[in-house]
């Protein structure tokens, strides 16, 4: 396959940035999207150019480090996929592909396709945990958990923190990310003591970071690599309202 790439290049936070066009040839359909970029970068290095900076690590769809907006869609058009798991067999020979970083005010660009997602860590710091120091736990079987609750908690807990939800949302909202953690912990007995204070603190922190509000467009769940359900946001709002009514 031969492709034309239009890639966002930005040398640093103070650079205005621009799209730059590259040709890549002899792309195998079995390559992953990132392997295709590796090929481009190997060439750029030898030509004395700056290779395209992008975040990636596990390359098996679980660490959440990679993420690009491909042809206008976070992680590309294939559903429930991270960028690293997207393969070139989903593109046509001769296609032009645009590649941009996540765009949201709370995710400033560091360089090219690399953005700063530390706002997510601060949302977790606000309360995304159960306060249980090591060594203080009772026997794991002392509190049975309904299988359905454990399964639903798991579904919410699979969030990989990639930030695609924010990039896809017209409001730049982090509601799906925040709601996933709140829902995971509110469905389990272990999460009950801090349930309302957690919801309040995390939502307040999310707002303080400058993420937008949720208007139920559902773009977030559509691009989410783990398919975090939209109803987690209802769960979050319910806990948040209860916390504020107290």
């Amino acid at each position: 396959m031969n492709l034309t790439l239009k890639v966002w290049r930005q040398s640093g936070p103070s650079d205005a940035g621009r799209m730059v066009t590259y040709r890549v040839e002899d792309v195998s359909p079995d390559m992953s999207f990132l392997e295709m970029l590796d090929v481009l970068n190997e060439r750029l290095i030898l030509e004395g150019d700056d290779p395209v900076a992008f975040d990636h690590d596990c390359r098996e769809g679980i660490c959440g480090m990679c993420g690009m907006v491909i042809n206008g869609v976070a992680h590309g058009e294939q559903r429930a996929t991270t960028t690293c798991q997207l393969h070139m067999r989903h593109f046509e020979n001769g296609a032009t592909i645009t590649i941009e970083p996540w765009r949201a005010a709370p995710f400033p660009v560091v360089k090219d396709l690399v953005v700063d997602r530390s706002a997510f860590d601060r949302v977790i710091q606000a309360g995304g945990f159960v306060s249980v120091p090591a060594g203080s736990a009772p026997d794991a079987h002392s509190i049975p958990v309904r299988k359905e609750d454990a399964d639903d908690a798991f579904d919410a807990a699979t969030c990989i923190g990639c930030g695609a939800c924010v990039a896809a949302c017209p409001n730049g909202s982090a509601s799906l990310f925040t709601a996933a953690k709140i829902t995971h912990l509110s469905l389990l007995p272990q999460g009950q003591p801090e349930r309302l204070s957690r919801a309040k603190a995390m939502v307040d922190q999310m707002d303080a970071e400058g993420f937008g509000g949720c208007t139920n467009t559902g773009e977030c769940t559509a691009v989410c690599p783990k398919g975090i359900p939209l109803d987690t946001i209802a769960q979050m709002n319910s806990d948040y309202l209860k916390a504020n009514a107290k």
Binding site: A53, C63, V130, V132, A134, I160
Partner: protein, 641 residues
């Protein structure tokens, strides 16, 4: 490469007495630090995987002043997150005959009698606390309808002791540790440095006193000093270029510590995981593992006849060779990883491999789907099947998976004593970065167990004993400056070469060489070839590598070049270690040492020891042997038949 033999290691600091009582004894004997003094003691933890994340969080909870470092953009991304199958614990919730002693026994045997008994026993003891801790944190383990935890079987065990969270156990456990860590960051006990890479260890007055790190965004070189340093920087499987490790995993932190005096133990013990997706082309950047749990229900086979290129569905039952079930009737598809990997290599060497290049075997779910129904199989393995389809474009519900062994884990690592302290006082090493618990082969679902045992329960106790004698005072300025200069000059050297080959091209070449000469099967001849070729390639690297950009910016090429440079040195030591150990054991298979059936043949007379290598700037490493004594498990030739 020559070496010299040094003094043996006689004391591992494990308490004497009955093995069941040793950890209790050590805990009681370890000095305590009073809460007011803990605030005055600084600890650096490098790496935020299961071991590092849990250690930093727990040390913070205890009241120490902690600085935590990771190269990713957030601590939640460390590669522990990719562990799929599960975590072992001797809970015996099934009543199927499990016990601490049985987990201990299975681990020592699975490690082919090359692990230290005291450490392994402690690991089995602590395993039960890990499950309690994780559940209390809200880790959503799989449960049964009665609300209790579900378990499954894993390779190398005949009991069901593996706890799991669908195919994402590592992710859920890591997020538990990450959340505990973020809680401490909010509480101010832990200061977090993301996108920071450790490039050197500061040693002053013979003690580890800090690290030199590079801020990967600005390129700034920073100094951080402390009373103790903990390395939790993972394994070195990426020396093979293609492995199941994350792209960023590297050996730089432990290699630098090794150069500064920490012994490196058993570097040749590499685990080749039997169930990975085969290589599809030259551009391949990494390999993806398919969880070992799949072997619970999937059946491994190849065509009986050499060169049979019919579609798998067209091959009738009596023309298939379910070779693991045939050779190992007792364990069948659940034999330990080293055995399953080598068996796959053997059938492929016979010309019976499947898929492009003949480097693959089938992992077939037809019978499981027939027995349990598609829905049940989907519930258990759905995400793994999806991942397979995404990568290969084939649907494993209809066509059997194709799998092949790939480098997955390194049992070797920095030598540590019972307290997890290296040969440098004040330098502790935990998780995959140390060598301690898995001998020559790690059992499935035991990496998560060890990482969390070290981080939540062992290190926080043992490091207290060292810190109780602190604080260790001001750090000698000259020592700090020396480490910083070493880091800067190495970066300058890399940038100055301005050659014609990329760091990745060297890494690929080194990886291929290691896979061919020091991979699943090693011979004296192959290892000597590698030892000849590695220095040549390294010389070429330093003469011809091209690193674009500058040191004062985010520069992924520079990061990569530094890591590749260290892989060369490590690769050499691995090959030397493999050459010296002329026996076969666990993941280290020397073709010269096998029994009549082609199984690994140990030589306990000569090699029942840990090989701990001391770095020598003159290029002649010094071998220190730690004798392994088995008081509780009788050394036998492993048999899974």
């Amino acid at each position: 490469m020559n070496y010299v033999e040094g003094e043996p290691i006689r004391d591992t600091k494990a308490p004497a007495g009955p093995i069941e009582e040793r950890w209790e004894k050590r805990k009681f004997g370890a000095k305590l630090v009073n809460p007011a003094n803990k605030r005055k003691l600084n600890v650096i933890v490098v790496g935020t995987g299961l071991a590092g994340g849990s250690a930093a969080a727990t040390l913070g909870e205890l009241g120490y002043n902690v600085k935590s470092f990771c190269y990713q953009d957030t601590p939640r991304r460390a590669h522990s997150i990719a562990a799929q199958g599960g975590i072992n614990a001797a809970k015996n919730y099934r009543g199927d005959g499990d016990s601490i002693h049985r987990l201990f026994y299975d681990t020592v045997k699975g490690g082919d009698f090359r692990a230290r008994e005291s450490n392994v026993y402690r690991l089995a003891q602590v395993s039960v606390n890990i499950i309690d801790q994780a559940v209390a944190q809200g880790v959503p383990f799989a449960r049964e309808y009665g609300g209790l935890l579900d378990t499954r079987s894993f390779g190398g065990a005949q009991v069901s002791r593996t706890f799991y969270a669908r195919g994402q156990t590592g992710q859920q456990l890591l997020l538990g540790a990450y959340q505990a860590l973020e809680r401490q960051i909010a509480a101010g006990t832990v200061e977090m440095f993301t996108r920071h890479e450790m490039l050197d260890l500061i040693i002053a007055d013979g003690r580890a006193r800090g690290v030199i790190v590079r801020d990967m965004v600005t390129g700034e070189i920073e100094r951080h000093v402390a009373d103790a340093v903990v390395l939790a920087t993972g394994g070195y499987g990426n020396v093979f270029f293609l492995s199941t490790n994350a792209k960023g995993c590297n050996t730089t932190a432990i290699w630098r510590a090794h150069e500064r005096g920490a012994y490196f133990a058993n570097p040749c013990y590499t685990q080749i995981h039997p169930t990975c997706i085969p290589v599809s082309g030259e551009y391949q950047s990494k390999l993806t593992l398919m969880s070992e749990s799949l072997r619970n229900d999937g059946r491994v086979w190849v065509p009986l006849r050499k060169g049979d290129d019919r579609a798998p569905g067209a091959i009738p039952e009596d023309e298939r060779d379910y070779y693991l079930e045939r050779i190992y009737p007792a364990f069948g598809n659940l034999v330990p990883r080293d055995i399953a990997s080598r068996a796959a290599k053997n059938v492929c060497d016979e010309g019976r491999g499947v898929g492009p290049g003949g480097l693959g075997v089938y992992l077939d779910f037809r019978d499981a789907i027939g027995r349990l129904g598609r829905d049940a199989v989907e519930k258990k393995y759905g995400n793994l099947f999806e991942m397979y389809e995404r990568i290969t474009g084939e649907n494993p519900y209809d066509v059997p998976m194709r799998i092949y062994p790939a480098v997955h884990y390194t049992m070797g690592g920095l030598w540590v004593d019972y307290d997890l302290q290296s040969t440098i006082p004040g330098l502790f090493v935990i998780g995959e970065a140390n060598f301690s618990d898995h001998g020559a082969n790690r059992l499935g679902a035991s990496a998560l167990m060890q990482g969390l045992a070290d981080g939540y329960f062992v290190l926080p106790t043992t490091i207290g004993d060292y810190l109780a004698a602190g604080p260790y005072g001001e750090v000698d300025e000259e020592a700090v400056a020396a480490a910083e200069i070493a880091v800067r000059s190495k970066i300058d050297r890399l940038l100055a070469v301005n050659g014609t080959r990329t760091p990745d091209s060297f890494h690929r070449e080194l990886g291929k060489l290691m896979w061919e000469y020091c991979g699943m099967e090693r011979t004296e001849e192959s290892l000597r070839k590698a030892l000849e070729r590695i220095p040549e390639l390294r010389e070429e690297f330093w003469r011809d590598v091209k690193v674009s950009g500058t040191a004062e910016e985010l520069n992924q090429v520079l990061e990569k070049a530094g890591r590749v440079a260290d892989f060369f040195d490590l690769a050499e030591l691995m090959c030397l270690d493999a050459l010296v150990r002329t026996e076969s054991c666990g993941g280290h298979f020397r073709a010269e040492s096998q029994d009549a059936d082609g199984e690994a043949l140990r030589d306990d007379e000569t090699f029942a020891h840990v090989s701990a290598w001391e770095y020598s700037p003159k290029g002649e490493p010094v071998l220190h042997k730690e004798a392994l004594e088995y008081e509780y498990v009788k050394m036998t030739q492993r048999s899974y038949k």
